[in-house]
């Protein structure tokens, strides 16, 4: 204290600097929180992925008046023509490479001798049918639909008008527009190492702004751009999908267009994948970023499939709330009763010190240890198995200290006058507690419950090996259940989808913030005296 200083002014100056640093670091915490919240919510709401494919991203519900139908339970929301082609040529035996499902693939085709059947055959193969051995033949559309409805794993191509109002099956849109080029282009392009045509490059090419393939890193060959013939299905699909072609040569019909692609050196143009295949024209890969809304209403309302790869999270949200309700129902009475004992009954001394030490120690035990204990005791020794009950019992133990401590503070803050009044009126101690003390402390108790539940909702480590990870709706106390937090982890750990992990995280954050906010509102209602106790949870 008696250190010589170079004067009051310099001390004040260093104080000002120190205060500025302290203030800066304090506001840094706000920055960190904001960064975390904004980052998670942004990534949860929007996705942006690099996609690389032979087909463009616009899809058609009824290509050539046909529709691709699958069973309602098939987790597929679109299909690319090469995949559909592969389904009918025995390239796929089951769904594992398409949707990761184990079901056998059952491709169904209409009898080729009927008009509709011939149309489907033309649609898939052009003039030379190459039906695979797996393909089942149905005599008419009604029976094909019936087969698809009853068979998970079946797929059929049928006239679109036969599908109106059908239940139990769904129509999936097809992506079939490719970029076809003269064989000279691709042969050389591959030599020159072009892997794919990026979206901006494609736009320039199709706007007639690129004169030579050299500009795209390809061979020294003039670009001969072809515009789709007017009035054709191809032209209609392209203009619907916003893929206009300008500045190119226009052939009079489809046959001439195909011939030009095949013969004219350096030629390029859009084409349906089926035609490209039939004419054996090479195609260029297309790559671009797809962005869109990640967290949609349907994501919240649909039930998940394929470990969360498709569908939404409705059952997981439901499981989460089931878990919270069950945990709350178990933890609240026990926690409040413990607090009542500590405040109203326990005498100062060794007993209360042991009880306090127990609560403090329990509060400090990490969740993974709770997980190990829950796995040993509830899952194995008590034979509850992986399920809702084991998980909730583990969570109850975890959040008990929070509830006990907060309720204790709240009970302590009830004015002695209230109790004395009640006792003086002839009420017993228990009556006083139940009718006077607990109601008076209710906001504080509720705050503790909300804080505890808020902790439970984000818990993962303790749940992975007690509650299981079934993403279907829990059917009972012993049914394995996946909740939001474990879903986030499993989506990440099983490499299923980062985007989906973020959308789920956004939902979880909203739940946590809602709990936090309501706890704060309650604390605000209680007023200053009790605020402190509730905060140091």
């Amino acid at each position: 204290m008696h250190k010589p200083t170079s004067g009051h002014a310099s001390r004040l100056r260093s104080q000002a600097i120190a205060f500025a640093i302290v203030r800066g670091l304090s506001f840094l915490t706000i920055g960190i929180l904001a960064l975390i919240l904004i980052f998670i919510v942004y990534r949860g709401l929007r996705y942006e992925n690099v996609v690389r494919s032979t087909v463009l991203s616009n899809s058609e519900a009824a290509p050539d008046g046909l529709a691709i139908v699958v069973n309602e339970g098939t987790p597929l929301d679109r299909i690319e023509f090469p995949v559909l082609y592969g389904m009918y040529t025995d390239e796929y035996l089951n769904w594992s490479k398409i949707t990761a499902d184990k079901e056998d693939l059952v491709p169904i085709a209409l009898d080729s001798s009927t008009a509709d059947g011939a149309k489907v055959s033309r649609f898939l193969f052009g003039s030379t049918p190459q039906w695979g051995g797996l393909v089942e033949t149905a005599p008419d559309a009604a029976r094909a639909i019936e087969r698809v409805r009853s068979t998970l794993g079946a797929v059929a191509v049928l006239p679109a008008e036969d599908l109106a109002g059908q239940k139990g099956v769904k129509v999936i849109p097809l992506r079939r527009v490719v970029i076809a080029a003269n064989s000279e282009v691709t042969a050389l392009v591959e030599n020159r190492g072009i892997e794919d045509l990026s979206d901006p490059a494609l736009r320039l090419l199709m706007a007639g702004k690129i004169a030579n393939w050299k500009e795209l890193g390809g061979p020294d060959l003039a670009v001969h751009l072809l515009e789709p013939p007017a009035g054709t299905e191809l032209q209609r699909v392209l203009s619907d999908g916003g893929h206009s072609v300008s500045g190119g040569a226009r052939e009079k019909d489809m046959a001439a267009y195909l011939a030009a692609l095949g013969d004219q050196s350096g030629s390029v143009g859009y084409l349906f994948a089926g035609d490209a295949k039939a004419e054996e024209l090479p195609t260029l890969m297309w790559s671009g970023t797809e962005s869109g809304w990640n967290l949609s209403l349907s994501y919240l309302l649909e039930s998940p499939g394929l470990s969360g790869k498709v569908g939404g999270i409705s059952t997981i949200i439901a499981n989460t709330f089931l878990m919270l309700i069950l945990t709350g129902l178990m933890a609240a009475p026990i926690g409040v009763a413990a607090a009542v004992y500590l405040v109203e009954y326990a005498r100062q001394g060794i007993m209360i010190r042991i009880l306090r030490l127990g609560t403090e120690t329990l509060a400090g035990i990490p969740s993974i240890i709770f997980g190990l204990f829950g796995f040993l005791f509830f899952v194995n020794i008590l034979h509850f198995g992986f399920g809702l009950l084991s998980g909730c019992l583990t969570l109850t133990l975890m959040i008990l200290p929070t509830i006990v401590r907060t309720s204790e503070e709240a009970m302590k803050a009830v004015p002695a006058g209230l109790r004395e009044g009640s006792l003086a009126l002839g009420a017993t101690k228990l009556q006083t507690i139940v009718r006077v003390a607990i109601p008076a402390a209710a906001p504080g108790i509720l705050t503790g419950l909300i804080l505890g539940i808020g902790r439970a909702v984000g818990e993962t480590a303790a749940l992975l090996f007690t509650m299981g990870s079934d993403y279907k709706l829990a059917k009972g106390l012993f049914s394995s259940a996946r909740v939001l937090s474990s879903h986030i982890y499993l989506l990440f750990a099983e490499g299923i989808s980062f985007d989906r992990a973020f959308s789920t995280a956004t939902v979880l954050i909203l739940v946590v913030v809602a709990f936090n906010f309501s706890a704060k509102r309650l604390i605000g209602k209680m007023g200053g005296g009790r605020e402190k106790g509730a905060k140091t949870r």
């Binding site: 205060f19 304090s26 009763a337 040993l376």
Partner: protein, 295 residues
């Protein structure tokens, strides 16, 4: 009347049972964890378990050495505290001494929300942002000691801030007034009088944060890289005790499973020691500021 008395007695007994549940839970956790984990040492010596770095539980000649994970746990935790303690202290000081009402309210809400964010979300944030940043700045895979400790630092901040603030507020007013009256500036008073007086409370907060960090599982699991090796430098991958347990739990059987419970015992003992230290430190800080700090 007699009936009523019996009822009151029963009620009291029930209430006591509920209050004793925490103690019972601690005892049960201890007993079951030890009973299940200790049997490992019939096959592996304690020295080998704690002192070897060979973790090959599924090899033909299995190795159960968790030294690298113990080192990993302390490495990550120590580094996290090195980041979190200065910031936590500063924010605690700001809240206790400098903040005006409005910024105090905002920062309090911030700290509460930071404490409430689930660890799996910290993990997601860690892989998507922090790993990317450390990868581009320092090279390596980004799944590293450094990334893990940055995430842990953010997670332990709330604990350190809250306890620092409470301890500083508990320092008797007379100490502060005396220092100011002697001509010390506010800052000098904070650094030379208030912080030293609140020392044991602050230390308790840091230890509490350390316990949180050592026991943290999901966030470090997602950003730490999880290679079962001795961590090599800041950008090397790391596996902590908690990660070791959760990684192998899904498929371990027999001795391997037992070794995970034994890992749990080691973690549990560390946590208990830290917790007891906190209790002692807090008691001391309470005794030191007795009478003055009517919080």
């Amino acid at each position: 009347m007699k009936h009523r008395k019996l009822f009151e007695r029963t009620a009291e007994g029930l209430l006591f049972a509920c209050a004793a549940l925490s103690v019972l839970a601690v005892i049960l956790i201890t007993v079951f964890l030890f009973q299940r984990g200790l049997s490992l040492f019939q096959k592996v010596s304690v020295l080998e378990f704690l002192g070897s770095t060979r973790w090959e539980p599924t090899a033909k000649v299995p190795g159960y050495g968790i030294l690298s994970f113990i080192v990993g746990s302390f490495y990550v935790t120590g580094l996290a505290l090195a980041f979190a303690v200065p910031i936590g202290l500063a924010v605690g000081i700001f809240l206790a001494e400098l903040a005006e009402k409005r910024s105090s309210r905002i920062i309090h809400s911030t700290v509460e929300l930071l404490a409430g964010i689930p660890s799996v979300i910290y993990g997601l944030f860690g892989i998507a942002l922090i790993s990317t940043i450390t990868r581009s700045l320092f090279g390596g895979s980004g799944y590293s000691v450094l990334s893990a400790s940055i995430v842990l630092a953010i997670m332990t901040l709330p604990t350190i801030i809250s306890v620092t603030e409470v301890s500083l507020r508990a320092v008797p007013r007379e100490l502060k007034e005396g220092s100011l009256a002697l001509g010390a500036t506010h800052w000098q008073t904070i650094v030379r009088v208030l912080v030293p007086a609140a020392r044991s409370g602050i230390i308790a907060g840091v230890i509490l944060g350390m316990g949180r960090a050592i026991g943290e599982t999901m966030a470090v699991l997602m950003v730490g890289g999880n290679a079962p090796l001795m961590p090599k430098g800041l950008t090397g991958m790391v596996r902590t005790l908690t990660m070791n347990i959760i990684t192998d739990m899904s498929y371990a059987t027999g001795d391997h499973l037992t070794s995970l419970f034994a890992t749990g015992i080691v973690l549990f003992v560390f946590i208990l020691v830290l917790n007891l230290t906190v209790q002692v430190a807090l008691k001391r800080s309470m005794a030191a500021t007795e009478g003055g700090g009517g919080a």
